[in-house]
């Protein structure tokens, strides 16, 4: 299904002088759907996601459309607590964040222009690092050492 739309989106973005300015909700939706299709087929990530989302993937995909729309288009549509959600996940390991990022980046590179894919990667890397720290390490909380 997705290949046609992917090619079209890529062309639209490539023709734009400001690719990031042309990033649309449709492109984000397509990117998210393509990414999670890969996640589900992935030997490392698939089982964890299938366990967390055993039934209908519609709500999760809608949440992720909103999340990336909020992050990339500042739409403010997503409002949630991703740390709490990830804390509940069974089988989540620090190294899986690397796998997640690699797959996400691969999807972005296939569907988007370099410039846009780079922005997605920068955002995703920072968010992943932040979540990872929140879930596993919390080593550096300099703000807790002493109050000013």
């Amino acid at each position: 299904m997705g290949n046609h739309a992917a090619a079209n989106n890529s062309v639209v973005l490539a023709e734009s002088p400001s690719e990031i300015g042309r990033l649309s909700e449709d492109v984000i939706r397509h990117l998210v759907d393509s990414f999670y299709t890969r996640v589900r087929a992935d030997s490392e990530l698939g089982p964890i996601f299938e366990r967390a989302i055993p039934g209908d993937w519609g709500p999760h995909l809608a949440t992720m459309h909103d999340f990336w729309s909020s992050v990339m288009l500042t739409s403010g549509r997503y409002k949630g607590n991703p740390v709490a959600v990830h804390l509940r996940l069974e089988g989540i390991e620090p190294q899986l964040f690397g796998r997640w990022l690699a797959l996400f980046d691969e999807t972005c590179r296939e569907l988007l222009d370099h410039e846009v894919a780079d922005v997605f990667r920068a955002k995703a890397s920072r968010i992943a690092e932040s979540l990872k720290l929140a879930l596993f390490y919390r080593p550096d909380r300099p703000w807790q050492r002493s109050a000013p």
């Binding site: 999340f67 909020s70 409002k79 932040s130 300099p142 807790q144 109050a147």
Partner: protein, 140 residues
């Protein structure tokens, strides 16, 4: 890592940041906002939204004391996720140096609670009022 709100927010408090934050990690003082470092996910959405250019990643040098201030007051001020009118004199204070020493107030702001009374045009995301926040008394 987290983003932190710094000096130029004081007495400006434009609140554009709270509308775009995906995780509702802003907390409101009487004349400033802060970010809860444990809740911020580093998405960076708020940084360019701030008309006062007061938000920075804590990886920038010299922000340690601001990080501590953000963490300290985020734990006592009420959560805010819906923008209200900024102070009438916000523009006059935009860019004034060293506002912390002169104007900073440790008192809590009103947070989202007042918006439930429909006192202004707070757009969109009213569901974010769901965000639980302790209703602290007047003083921290």
């Amino acid at each position: 890592m987290t983003y932190v709100v710094t000096d130029n927010c004081i007495k400006c408090k434009y609140m554009d940041c709270v509308e775009v934050c995906p995780v509702d990690c802003f907390y409101e003082g009487e004349n400033m906002l802060v970010i809860h470092p444990d809740e911020c996910i580093d998405c960076g959405v708020c940084e360019p939204e701030c008309p006062a250019n007061a938000i920075f990643p804590d990886t920038e040098p010299g922000l340690e004391s601001w990080l501590k201030l953000n963490a300290e007051y985020a734990s006592v001020w009420p959560n805010i996720s819906v923008k209200r009118e900024s102070p009438a004199d916000a523009k006059q204070f935009d860019g004034v140096p060293n506002k912390l020493g002169q104007f900073f107030s440790p008192n809590p702001g009103q947070g989202d609670a007042m918006n439930e009374h429909g006192d202004d045009q707070g757009p969109a995301n009213n569901q974010s009022i769901l965000t639980e926040h302790p209703s602290h008394g007047r003083d921290p």
